[in-house]
Amino acid sequence: MSDDARRLKPVDVVVVGGGWAGSIMAKEMTEAGRTVVMLERGPDRSTAGEGAYPASIDELEGNFRYKLFQDLSKSTVTIRNNASQTALPYRRMAAFLPGEGVGGAGLHWSGVHFRMPPDDLRLRSRVIEKYGAKFIPEGMNLQDYGVTYEELEPFFDKAEKVFGTSGEAYKVNGQVVGQGNVFSPSRSDHFPLPPLKDVYTAHLFRKAAAEVGFHPYSLPAANASQQYTNPYGVQMGPCNFCGYCSGYACYMYSKASPNVNILPVLRRHPLFELRANCHVLRVERDSTGKRATGVTYTDAEGKVVTQPAEMVILTAFQFHNVRLMLLSGIGKPYDPVRNEGVVGRNFVYQNVTTSVVWLDPKVETNQYIGAGGGGVAFDDFNSENFDHGPLGFVGGSPVWVNQAGVKAIAGAHSGGPPGTPRWGSAWKAGMIDTYRHSLRIDAHGANMAYRDVYLDLDPTWKDAYGQPLLRMTFDWKDNDIRMNRYVVDKIGNVAKAMGARNVHLGMREFGKPFDTRQYQTTHLGGGAVMGTDPQTSALNRYMQSWDVHNVFVIGANAFPQGTGYNPTGMVAALAYWAAYHIRTTYLAHPGPLAG
């Protein structure tokens, strides 16, 4: 196998995946004087290419032909709802949309940029403190991250400054300084940029939520509200609310992406080399199995090549990181029957449903105006901000209007109110009315981890390189459905206060399995989680493999359970956190950072 592969000149660090985590780690390692090769299986991409106006303003190419997304013809996953089923291939894009190419999901994302709530980082401990250990349902693998908000704060701050994040603080250094999220923890500094303007629907939602007694705040958005120069010296332009964020390379250079915010500097660094169209097959290990020696990949010409390296940093998308660990034999694979092993354990998703509010037909909601990260939220039912005791479920959900720009094909597909036909004149009337006069409110809830929800390798289907596909075993559970229904029910009064003429509350239904055909979100998490116990985590709290100390794995794979927030802010902070400990400790003394 690897003996046949061409061996390249060794480097200090090989980074697998060219998204946010990979770009941050490569930047940090070159700053530390290390030679870095970044391998990206997709094509090279830049805003000047994919993002150029007006060609990029093409909804068909962006959101329906998936220009910036994973090429499923080469590799996908299989999915089933439970272990008694045969998992079947995810053949067409639908429920989630993983990225591909330089920039990764960081190029096609929307831009919502959160810090993880302190309680979510120690959710198991917090739930036991408040409600007792018996409160945790049977089969729920509730865990702590092993890292606290106070430890991560400098790295949340750094990520926001690199991303040029717009938002309004509530507390800085313990002092209330603004109208930000009253449930958010204290910060060491303000957001680098003031919040984006409210679009009309967000403005209405802010007023109505306050009237009902909730605590609305501006979503933290990595869409620049003003011109900005980040600490690396790269410039962003002000967001003009064009509505082409999710699925697009921002032509205004306003949405943060690795391509805009980090790679322009990294590409010029003499210690850095980017190799696109290189698909990593596995991490190589020495005869002890405890040390990685590099990676083997298929290059752009289809040649199999081995790149020796002192350190391997996996920074592919969440489930690709897990699959690479399984394919490489790094960490013990999870066995749900024996409840042993860690790689594939605690696979989680995001528990999102969308409600629709119809306003007076004289009011134009202009849903095509938007910024991917912009909007207004309330957190009164997120995290541990409310008493779960009488409710009997774990987890919560922020509620928001995040009008990212609804374009014409999406509007046509969404159609009219429930019960409206999908075509013909009745569809047309309902769809046009809905497009012009409605707005959407999301409950963007957490999904907990369960013993029988996991990732492993599929026994049947293979990718274009002959390797087994990853298999997802996933379904919605009673706890999460009840949480969603409780929170969505609160949207009714907000809609009433907005002057709704009609409301559709989008709730999860009991007994309705996870449906791979309907887009939900790409916020997949877990599967190779961080923690303090090698029996229940694949990575220590520094994102280092417990088993192979020169392998670090950065991504949402590290989340022990889901959260109500979007993952990118946490992934970026974890990358800077891991990089800090690699730079200050590991490089001088290679070995396990936690015992």
């Binding site: 303003i57 709802n81 999908r422």
Partner: protein, 214 residues
């Protein structure tokens, strides 16, 4: 930066201007019988009415025919490795057919059903009879060999929506008529000065990637 959308708008002054008369279109992928079905079905899925133009005026059939020549229609973006095992609907599409094959099987199946029940091809049926057949296909009540009718119908409906509402550069949405009925500004993509004009419709008409306006 704010001027970028304006540049596109200005370029239309010397552009196409008034709607050109529809040019006859010869399909590249669909044969005559298939084309007749497609014209008839599109006319039912998005009929012309008081709310705006229908799929025929928007050249949706042309859009679909042109899409059939793209790698997309050959399943280039779908995972098409065997084995093909059928399972619960919620685990997604599991047929070995890319879009082109779905159209070939689906249209033949629709016409066969029309011939069996009504002794005519679909295109020759009365509109309400066509609607009944389309509803039956949508509800999965017909079977075209090993293609469930809902799989074909969903493919057709998805492409019809794309054709009516995508940028005209792809062959449909003629005269930006799809966007005009939604009040969607298309490639304007600059609302810096309208983001806080609450509840009032954006005053400029739609613009396409090539600078055509409506």
């Amino acid at each position: 930066m704010q001027g970028l959308a304006g540049v596109a708008a200005c370029s239309t002054v010397s552009g196409t201007g008034a709607a050109a008369p529809p040019r006859p279109y010869t399909p590249v992928f669909f044969n005559a019988a298939e084309w007749n079905f497609l014209l008839a079905a599109c006319d039912r899925l998005i009929p012309a009415d008081a709310n705006g133009p229908g799929a025929l005026a928007l050249n949706v059939p042309r859009f679909i025919d042109q899409q059939m020549t793209m790698p997309y229609a050959q399943g280039a973006q779908w995972y098409m490795a065997a084995p093909f095992v059928q399972g619960p609907d919620n685990l997604g599409y599991q047929l070995p057919y890319p879009p082109r094959d779905l159209y070939r099987h689906g249209i033949a199946g629709m016409n066969a059903h029309a011939a069996t029940r009504h002794a005519r091809p679909f295109a020759a049926l009365a509109p309400d009879v066509q609607d009944d057949l389309l509803r039956a296909a949508e509800g999965g009540k017909l079977v075209f060999g090993d293609v469930p009718s809902a799989a074909f119908f969903d493919q057709l409906l998805a492409n019809v929506m794309e054709g009516a509402f995508s940028d005209p550069i792809h062959g449909g949405n003629t005269g930006l008529g799809g966007w005009a009925m939604l009040g969607f500004p298309g490639a304007r993509a600059d609302f810096m000065d309208w983001v806080d004009r609450y509840g009032v419709h954006y005053p400029l008409g739609s613009v396409s990637i090539t600078g055509e306006t409506a």
